[in-house]
């Protein structure tokens, strides 16, 4: 069971690049153990220099963005590797919502599994939100609300974002997807039995041996 999420409010940082890949979000050098501090590793390749010191010009190293809760990104955010650690790094840093005109498929799925709101916005909304954040650089505080599917800026203006209604509801309930699927266990096992009868070649003896061994 995850904690239910219905809104995310806080500083919004902007990542003004298309095709930000998951290797950039969490470089592989931090993936060698199951216990690394992934929040510290977020965008590690850009955040730190070769000696491990923070690069002062990187957005997440500057106030107030060190406390960012929302990330505004451009097209095809999260492309590349399937590593779910990209989502964990964002969450452990404190990001609760990423808004972008489009997301890579696997990243998009991974986000919802971890209660990270992935909101789709129009390209024009991306530009508007970026301009609003720039104009309020001292306190770029935004509020993302799942019930109304709007993001409201420090100027008081609200803009729509898109999220499938079922996804929003699952986030607000904190659904455990595996528990929900396990309610279908009978249908799943019936499917497997029928497939074995119809296409026995798909489940040859060499494969099934582990069932009885």
């Amino acid at each position: 069971m995850r904690d239910p999420v219905s809104s995310v409010e806080g500083v919004m940082a902007v990542m003004p690049l298309a095709n930000v890949n998951t290797d950039a979000i969490i470089p592989s050098v931090w993936l060698r153990t199951a216990t690394a501090d992934l929040g510290k590793a977020l965008f590690g390749g850009q955040r730190y220099d070769e000696h491990g010191a923070e690069r002062p010009d990187f957005v997440l190293n500057r106030a107030p963005f060190r406390q960012a809760r929302i990330l505004l990104a451009d097209e095809n955010f999260g492309c590349g590797s399937s590593r779910e650690a990209a989502v964990w790094a964002l969450a452990q840093f404190g990001i609760g919502c990423v808004l972008a005109p489009s997301f890579a498929d696997i990243f998009y799925e991974n986000a919802f599994k971890n209660g990270l709101v992935a909101g789709l916005i129009e390209p024009a909304t991306y530009l508007t939100l970026k301009a609003t954040a720039d104009a309020h650089a001292d306190a770029p505080v935004f509020r993302v609300d799942l019930r109304s599917t709007t993001v409201t800026g420090p100027d008081g203006l609200s803009h729509a974002f898109r999220i499938p209604a079922s996804r929003a509801q699952a986030l607000m309930r904190g659904d455990d997807e595996i528990a929900i699927t396990l309610r279908e266990t009978d249908a799943i096992e019936a499917h497997y039995a029928a497939a074995r009868a119809r296409a026995d070649w798909l489940f040859p003896p060499a494969l099934e041996r582990a069932r009885t061994s």
Binding site: P16, S28, D105, Y192
Partner: protein
């Protein structure tokens, strides 16, 4: 009469368990492959919830990402990898999952061993916690790359809840010139369609140039579907596919194999099947491809030059091209041929099969790696390594000054100890040239095995067609 269907439609329909209220489909997963970096947290989640593995018989595990590839290595050779390797071995044992770890003759990269063991079959759905699972589309399987939560979901339920992808077709038509490989075809498609060109889609590759490819070449082509942004890529199986699979460990045998082939013949897309998007790649003019930037779409023919950012109309693209050229340490207008390299890497789930090593060895035979260049050859599996050694390929590579290593992901993901040092330039047969991918500040050029071999010998990026084969 049934509506015309694509290959993808037919396979998806045969695996549909239920339509979910949220619009997604619950899909049965016939085959599940585990690798060490994405399954530890999934097993921990299962344990915490008091759940068990629903179908261990449909699952295999192998160690590839973090293993050492040092000659004579064992599971402890890379101390940084010990935790994840040990966890996978013990989790697999406790769940009665077949585990092909270091020391097992079947160990290798997930996407290399799934086809060579006959674990991936035409018409099946195979899931793996790795984005390049689309590789098995080369056999006509749906290979679905997932994250760790979905690995846990498959372990617990043997299903995935997925949004049904749209149908897209990329047709490669025409006559491919000498020296042009599947890698060049998919890189060219990348340049034309972009890294988001297939987002949300199941991409079927078709056309005369695809039919002409060997099965191993088709695996290479489908491997990089994720770099097109696609959910998966596939090629309808044909006689070559059937011949490739016959006799493999987990493939059906005897009379069951004949019935399988009969079923597999029905997997082709119907003549009048409709694709939401249909694109054509003209193969007549494709030259050997090499990337100059930091995404796979930053690619050009070997005779071309590093582009000038000023030539791009879109301001954001202009900026990203400028940043890519800066990171890569190149100048606009430089010829790609002649760029000096420090490292040449032949390996990865894209290009580490026997035919890849043979293509590289044909270029290398009787020659020497250029002074100052480090060359590595890393077979994709221990089976590939054995077959290559039986043909004497290891001697050709070693005599030329290449390192001949053990099977693993090695210098593609660089999560192990095989890393390109900061600022050095590597030409690689891998699939990703992202910033820092092969190590902090490493610079990567993607190319085919023959092109990488040619560059290793010359010490600079070279048109392989100008290197006489001995």
């Amino acid at each position: 009469m049934a509506a015309p269907a694509t290959s993808f439609d037919k396979i998806w329909a045969a695996h549909l368990v239920a339509r979910l209220d949220d619009g997604r489909d619950l899909i049965f997963v016939d085959r599940h492959v585990l690798q060490e970096t994405t399954c530890a947290v999934a097993f921990a989640g299962l344990k915490r919830a008091g759940r068990s593995v629903a179908h261990p018989e449909l699952t295999i595990a192998t160690q590839d990402h973090i293993v050492s590839t040092d000659p004579g290595r064992d599971e402890d050779s890379n101390p940084g990898g010990r935790e994840l390797l040990t966890l996978m071995r013990s989790n697999a044992y406790a769940s009665r999952i077949r585990h092909f770890g270091v020391g097992d003759p079947r160990q290798g990269i997930v996407h290399v061993i799934a086809p060579e063991l006959g674990f991936a079959l035409p018409g099946s759905i195979l899931a793996c916690g790795d984005s390049h699972t689309s590789t098995v589309g080369g056999l006509g399987a749906l290979g679905i790359g997932v994250g760790t939560s979905e690995v846990e979901h498959v372990l617990a339920t043997q299903t995935l809840a997925l949004t049904r992808p749209a149908n897209m077709r990329v047709r490669f038509e025409g006559k491919v010139g000498p020296g042009i490989t599947a890698k060049d075809l998919i890189l060219r498609a990348m340049g034309e369609l972009g890294v988001a060109g297939g987002r949300g889609c199941a991409v079927e590759y078709a056309g005369s140039a695809i039919e002409a490819l060997t099965v191993e070449a088709r695996l290479t082509l489908c491997n990089m579907s994720i770099e097109l942004g696609a959910r998966l890529g596939l090629i309808a199986p044909d006689e070559k596919t059937f011949a490739y699979l016959e006799g493999r460990e987990f493939a059906p045998r005897g009379e069951a194999f004949s019935r399988a082939v009969a079923a597999w013949r029905g997997l082709r897309s119907d003549e009048d099947a409709v694709f939401a998007r249909d694109v054509l790649i003209d193969c007549d003019t494709i030259a050997p491809q090499v990337t100059w930037g930091t995404t796979p779409q930053d690619v050009a023919g070997i005779g071309e030059r590093v582009p000038d950012p000023a030539g791009f109309a879109d301001a954001r693209r202009r900026e990203s091209v400028a940043q890519a050229i800066r990171y890569m340490g190149l100048e606009p207008g430089m010829k790609l041929a002649g760029i000096p390299i420090d490292v040449a890497f032949i390996g990865s789930c894209t290009n580490s099969r026997l035919s890849d090593l043979e293509a590289a060895a044909a270029v290398v035979r009787g020659r020497r790696v250029a002074p100052g260049v480090r060359g590595l050859v890393v077979p994709g599996s221990m089976s590939v390594k054995r077959e290559a050694e039986a043909r004497g390929l290891h001697e050709i590579f070693r005599a030329a000054g290449f390192e001949w290593r053990e099977a693993g992901c090695s210098m593609c993901v660089s999560i192990n100890e095989d890393v390109v040092a900061p600022g050095l330039r590597c030409i690689a047969t891998t699939n990703r040239n992202f910033e820092n991918r092969q190590g902090p500040q490493a610079r990567t050029h993607l190319a085919s095995p023959a092109m990488v071999a040619a560059a290793a010998l010359a010490g600079r990026i070279t048109d392989v067609r100008e290197v006489p084969l001995s």
